[in-house]
């Protein structure tokens, strides 16, 4: 490995192209942690936003008027406000209302850290879109198929779990992919509340090394690859879920 690091050091001294996150151990560690934080935050938000979408779409079909109203209110609130404002709202408004807890150094710190707030905020943000996406999928499931399940004695929950949801999923995969791709890109907003994700760490590195151009190019490519991997995975999944003669 050393000769690679050496090569990048020489590249810097010969051409001025400075990539310290490759040759410098400290910056390398920062960048790796940033990347892992971004991936971890993305995975958590992907998971919970899909859960919120599935449950929200189920509640939207409820016979109780107020349940439907609450779900619709949630969707409107999170769809019609900027995700950065939501993030600030959770972190600064709700975060400061929560009690503080004692930390390891004898002081006090907020109950939930910036990472937790970013995960909560972004899950709700993407979840609102997922509810609408799943609803469109559920509406695409033929009523007659649901009726057949009813006639066989399935309960409403069994129909949702065994019939409606699996069929709706297949319909919504492309729309959901778009939303999840946007979600991964939106994790960069967590930078604003100092979550040490990739953009934040890159900022640290360019502040120390004054290599803004290189870091910007790197960030662009890094997100391109990251989202590319996600899209490839989703496409593979979409193909695996295909059923003959449907959709």
């Amino acid at each position: 490995m050393d000769f690679i690091f050496e090569w990048f050091r020489t590249l810097y001294s010969e051409t001025g192209v400075n990539l310290p996150f490759i040759y410098d151990e400290y910056d390398r560690k920062r960048m790796a942690e940033g990347l892992l934080t971004t991936i971890w935050l993305s995975l958590i938000c992907l998971f919970f936003s899909v859960i919120i979408g599935v449950i929200g779409a189920w509640l939207q079909g409820s016979s109780l008027k107020w349940t439907r109203r609450i779900v619709n209110g949630y969707i409107q609130l999170f769809r019609n406000t900027p995700p950065l404002v939501q993030l600030y709202f959770f972190y600064f408004a709700i975060g400061t209302l929560l009690p503080r807890v004692e930390n390891d150094w004898g002081g006090t710190s907020p109950m939930l850290g910036s990472f937790a707030w970013a995960a909560i905020s972004l899950s709700f943000f993407a979840g609102a879109f997922n509810v609408e996406i799943f609803r469109s999928g559920i509406e695409a499931v033929p009523k007659s198929t649901v009726e057949a399940a009813e006639a066989l004695g399935f309960s409403r929950l069994q129909i949702y779990r065994d019939i409606t949801l699996p069929l709706a999923f297949r319909v919504v995969i492309p729309a959901m992919n778009n939303n999840l791709v946007n979600l991964v890109k939106t994790t960069t907003l967590a930078y604003a509340i100092a979550v040490p994700e990739m953009l934040y760490e890159a900022n640290q590195i360019w502040s120390d090394n004054v290599n803004v151009t290189e870091m910007m190019i790197f960030l662009l490519l890094a997100y391109f690859v990251l989202v590319g991997v996600l899209v490839a995975g989703m496409n593979k999944w979409e193909r695996a879920m295909k059923i003959p003669g449907f959709g």
């Binding site: 198929t145 004695g153 069994q158 003669g245 449907f246």
Partner: protein, 249 residues
């Protein structure tokens, strides 16, 4: 349960009224179906045939009247729908198979999920049913890989897997190619011969004549005329019945 004696009808429909908004669909229908009976309901489009049989398993509710299925009152707000649907099977015009499940899974699903049967037992029973509807070897085919007639036979097997006491057939051959109609009718005929109680809405007059114990002719939400097929087709008395038969035969 009040239903016990064999002389009681299995399905007893009394004075049933049903409307969709301002549209009256059933205007006082009364009919009884005895155990082992095969009855065919015929009539012009929009005469309420399909609505009538959809009311029997509570897919549609009724405004007034009574529908008793083995003593179970369907027009009861506290009706246990699961209990009703264990007794009543249904086969639809558009088959309505679950497209993401194989033929075998389609048949097994309700016994496993609804009756909580063990998987092995249901699988063996499902394979047996596939054989009964002459679809051995198709257990792993998805509905999209089967012809209309094959799908409809899977749908019949799926209904049979719940071991219902009566099966409702809602124009089950209306969406099929002419050459596959025969295979589905053959399957139904075998069921009828096995003693299954069947209520069919159909446009297949020759078939109705062959399998039915009793024919009901509906028009504008009432039963205009009914009788055993021999007399019904030969000497219908009501002019509406005669007109309908003259157009269709």
């Amino acid at each position: 349960m009040t239903w016990s004696a064999t002389s009681d009808p299995m399905v007893s429909i009394k004075n049933v009224y049903k409307s969709f908004g301002s549209l009256d669909v059933l205007n006082g229908v009364t009919l009884d179906v005895m155990k082992g009976d095969v009855i065919c309901i015929i009539g012009p489009s929009g005469s309420g045939k399909s609505t009538l049989i959809r009311c029997i398993n509570a897919l549609n509710d009724i405004q007034s009247g009574s529908i008793l299925v083995e003593g179970l009152e369907v027009n009861d707000p506290n009706l246990d729908k699961l209990e009703l649907r264990k007794k009543v099977g249904m086969v639809f015009q558009q088959y309505n198979l679950f497209p993401h499940k194989t033929a075998l899974q389609n048949i097994m699903m309700a016994p496993v999920r609804v009756l909580k049967q063990n998987k092995k037992t249901s699988e063996a029973a499902a394979l047996e049913l596939l054989k009964k509807v002459r679809l051995e070897g198709k257990e792993n085919a998805y509905p999209g890989e089967l012809s209309g007639g094959q799908q409809q036979r899977v749908a019949i097997a799926r209904s049979l897997a719940m071991q219902p006491d009566v099966i409702l057939f809602d124009e089950v051959t209306a969406a099929l190619d002419p050459e596959t109609v025969g295979e589905v009718l053959q399957t139904i005929k075998e069921l009828a011969e096995d003693g299954m109680t069947c209520i069919l809405v159909t446009h297949e007059m020759a078939f109705a004549r062959e399998v039915a114990d009793h024919i009901y002719f509906t028009d504008r939400g009432i039963i205009v005329e009914h009788g055993p097929p021999e007399t019904f087709f030969k000497d219908a008395k009501d002019p509406r019945t005669r007109e309908f038969l003259s157009q269709i035969l």
